[in-house]
């Protein structure tokens, strides 16, 4: 009987201990669930650049290039204005055009002076003699404007040439790295190429960086650029602070957006709804997004902040 009683007591103690232990562990887990998700650890996106360690002999072999490799089309830079195919820059013509310009610049001061003088005495006469000097003056103005336009166009073409040469240099470097990659990665390249026939979607006025072909192959920049090209915030947002919109986007494997992106922040600003709608529209319009399939796990669930403050300055 005593032994039974002892066992009873033991069992009871065991029961109590087990109860307390289970409750404590369950509550610990619950607390962990609440507290650890309140402060998520935000991983900083890191530009990943594939690196291969090779010997010096391999390096020289690689830089020699592969003569039998197919010719890769040089990615043309985005341009501000598509030049007419017919008008080719004639460097000789530029030199001879100089004396013409000097003469044309002397003309403008002349026509406005005779104009008001002529108008007064001729005001009483018939309208016909009045037209001629004005038409002449207008024609001179037009000629001068044409000259100026030509000059501008030539300048633009020179700039385009410069950019093309720079892009070519970068393309050489790109080729080398590509060849290195060809040793590693058998997947198809998923880069979004720029062509010269596509007008630059980002207006250079107001953008601190041009959209030239960058060396980085990060899909982060690619996705960001694609969304950026479709984001057209209304001008009314220009004067407003506190209009940043934090958006979360879920993307399918084929680059399309799963559902409407969700806005993760709040603001009491009266224009916040418009800002959020414009950001959502930007994301929805530009799908499907071109992204590397290999890194699907990284880009299937992204978040990004739309901040219009820089856009309308100046």
């Amino acid at each position: 009987m005593a032994r039974l009683a002892n066992r009873e007591a033991d069992d009871k103690r065991l029961k109590v201990g087990l109860t307390v232990s289970s409750v404590f562990h369950a509550s610990l887990l619950a607390w962990g669930l609440v507290s650890f998700t309140a402060k998520p650890f935000a991983a900083m996106p890191v530009d990943s650049l594939p690196v291969d360690i090779i010997s010096s002999s391999e390096f020289s072999q690689i830089t020699a290039g592969i003569k039998t490799a197919p010719k890769a089309e040089a990615p043309k830079p985005l341009v501000e204005k598509v030049a007419d195919a017919s008008s080719t820059p004639d460097m000789l013509a530029k030199v001879s055009a100089k004396p013409e310009i000097a003469a044309a610049s002397e003309k403008p001061p002349a026509p406005p002076e005779p104009k008001p003088a002529e108008q007064k005495p001729e005001a009483k006469k018939e309208p016909e003699p009045k037209v001629d000097p004005i038409a002449e003056a207008l024609a001179k103005e037009e000629a001068r404007k044409k000259q100026e336009k030509k000059l501008e166009e030539q300048k633009k073409r020179e700039e385009q040439k410069k950019r093309r040469e720079e892009a070519k240099k970068r393309e050489e470097l790109n080729k080398q790295i590509e060849n290195k990659l060809a040793l590693l990665d058998k997947h198809e390249a998923q880069r979004h190429e720029a062509t010269g026939a596509t007008l630059n979607p980002t207006p250079s006025l107001g953008s601190p960086r041009g959209n030239a072909s960058a060396l980085s192959m990060s899909w982060v920049d690619g996705l960001r650029a694609q969304i950026q090209a479709c984001w057209s915030p209304p001008v009314g947002l220009a004067d407003a602070k506190d209009l940043t919109v934090d958006m979360r986007i879920l993307i399918n494997r084929d680059g399309s957006v799963t559902t409407e992106p969700t806005v993760q922040n709040r603001s009491a600003h009266p224009l916040f709804q418009i800002a959020a709608e414009t950001a959502k529209r930007a994301v929805m319009r530009c799908q499907p997004y071109k992204l590397p399939a290999a890194q699907y796990d990284m880009w299937k669930d992204v978040e990004v902040n739309f901040d219009p403050r820089e856009m309308f300055r100046g």
Binding site: L4, R7, D11, L14, K15, L18, S22, H25, A26, L29, A30, G32, L33, F36, T37, P40, M44, P45, P112, I134, P201, T202, G206, S207, P208, L223, R224, I227, Q228, A229, C230, W231, S232, P233, P234, V235, G236, L237, E260, P270, I274, E277, K280, R281, M284, R285, M298, W299, K300, D301, V302, E303, V304, N305, F306, D307, P308, R309, E310, M311
Partner: protein, 449 residues
């Protein structure tokens, strides 16, 4: 033995069950942690620049319930499309490109509109009420989000259809840009045809106008009252410059300033109860304040120079004006109650025609650069310089739209005087529909009528 079994079997809280419960709780906690997927996988760097483009919007013709109203429905749609296009912020899509030609008012096939890259879509409906009045209703759709953004309906008499179209255009504009639209406001301006002058009041698109005053003598300087019910202007019908006040709706008018010398440049104070004027009754053109009903004017300042073109700030506390006390015409400001004046414009030797934006932040004026008269805009809060926003030769009389986003001004092109509107940065300029006559002296009316 049997006692043991009894003890073990009876308690609800047996050891095994407790163990099971604890494990379940733990697993549950882990499972839910996984399912919630706290934050996104990657955060992209902030997007700080975009590509500002007009919003592509599809505006199929309003559907008329009765065939007799089909033409009115079509006209309304055209007015709305014209308004939105002229604002520069919208790009209406060519109807030839529509896939769904007559969308259902309450349920358009949004994928069809997505296919033609329309970001927004308006469906409209026109029905007749029993009392003969017409009911216009519209719905605004966000095509890519697949939702309706706005929808309203208006009931009005048949001949008021143009105003309703402007109001609908305003509603669409506001919902998509967050700005208040000015399509339903009016503009007053003077036309000159031969030796006939007319003071016109039209919708902001230059259409649907009435002639407020026809005369064979010049009319200049129209100025709206803050309520939009009255117009003050200068008329030369008495062979001298006199200031008149006219009720816009009824056309009734009376002369309020006919003092010795010239009476000109009326400008209402924001409370609508008094006007600032330029009178030369005391020998030289000076600024005076006069009650709206007429009566004795009170001189605002004393100077030995020509002071003219007064304009109030929206809070009514400051008066901007043009004076040549410094040698050439420049813009100055002084407290409206009276006090010392300070100079505001410093670029160039000739600055006239000040206009203040409705929020009081911007000053628009005309400057002379060489032989050209150009429109300049100056940020009053920044205290910085002014920038020219036109490159034409003969600009005059700027006037701000009541939403502060546009300026209407008179310009000259190919020998004709016409009216242009421009955004404050000068990027989007449009020309107001012309009647063929020379148009000048524009004044943009306030919100409401």
């Amino acid at each position: 033995m049997s006692n043991e079994g009894l003890i073990v079997a009876r308690g609800a809280l047996t050891r095994r069950r407790l163990l099971a419960a604890g494990t379940a709780a733990g697993l549950g906690a882990w499972a839910s942690l996984g399912a919630r997927g706290a934050r996104a996988q990657t955060r992209l760097p902030d997007i700080t620049s975009g590509n500002v483009q007009p919003i592509s919007i599809a505006l199929p013709d309003f559907a008329a319930a009765q065939p007799a109203d089909a033409e009115m429905a079509r006209n309304m749609s055209q007015v709305i499309a014209g308004d939105l296009k002229r604002s520069g912020l919208f790009a209406p899509i060519d109807p030839a490109a529509f896939i769904e030609k007559t969308p259902n008012f309450d349920a358009p096939r949004l994928p069809d509109w997505k296919a033609i890259n329309a970001q927004a879509l308006t469906t409209g409906r026109l029905t007749r009420q029993a009392d003969g009045r017409v009911q216009a209703a519209f719905r605004l759709w966000d095509v890519f989000a697949g939702t309706a953004l706005d929808g309203k309906q208006y009931v009005t008499s048949t001949d008021n259809w143009r105003r309703i179209a402007h109001i609908i255009a305003d509603a669409i504009y506001e919902r998509l840009t967050g700005e208040r639209g000015v399509f339903a406001t009016r503009i007053a301006y003077v036309t000159k045809s031969g030796n006939r002058f007319a003071l016109n009041v039209t919708d902001a698109d230059g259409q649907g106008g009435q002639v407020a005053l026809a005369s064979t003598d010049p009319i200049i300087s129209p100025a709206w009252s803050p309520s939009g019910k009255e117009l003050a202007y200068v008329s030369f019908e008495s062979q001298k410059a006199t200031v008149w006040l006219q009720d816009v709706a009824s056309g009734q008018r009376r002369m309020i300033a006919n003092f010795r010398g010239s009476n000109s440049a009326p400008a209402f104070a924001p409370d609508g109860r008094s006007l600032a004027l330029t009178l030369s009754r005391d020998g030289i053109a000076q600024l005076y304040l006069m009650p709206r009903e007429g009566g004795t004017p009170r001189r605002l300042a004393t100077s030995n120079a020509i002071d003219t073109e007064p304009v109030f700030t929206p809070d009514g506390r400051t008066l901007y004006f043009v004076s040549d006390r410094g040698g050439g015409p420049q813009i100055y400001r002084m407290p409206a109650a009276g006090g010392a004046a300070e100079r505001v414009t410093f670029s160039g030797a000739y600055n006239i025609s000040p206009a203040i934006s409705p929020d009081g932040k911007w000053l628009a004026f005309i400057t002379r650069q060489g032989n050209a008269y150009r429109l300049m805009v100056q940020d009053l809060s920044a205290g910085g310089g002014a920038s020219a926003i036109t490159d034409t030769q003969d600009d005059e009389s700027p006037s701000f739209a009541p939403n502060g986003r546009l300026i209407v001004y008179a310009s000259r092109s190919q020998g004709r005087d016409l009216l242009m509107t421009t955004t404050l940065d000068g990027r989007i300029k449009t020309r107001l529909l012309t009647t063929g006559a020379d148009m000048r002296e524009p004044a943009w009316g306030p919100f409401g009528r």
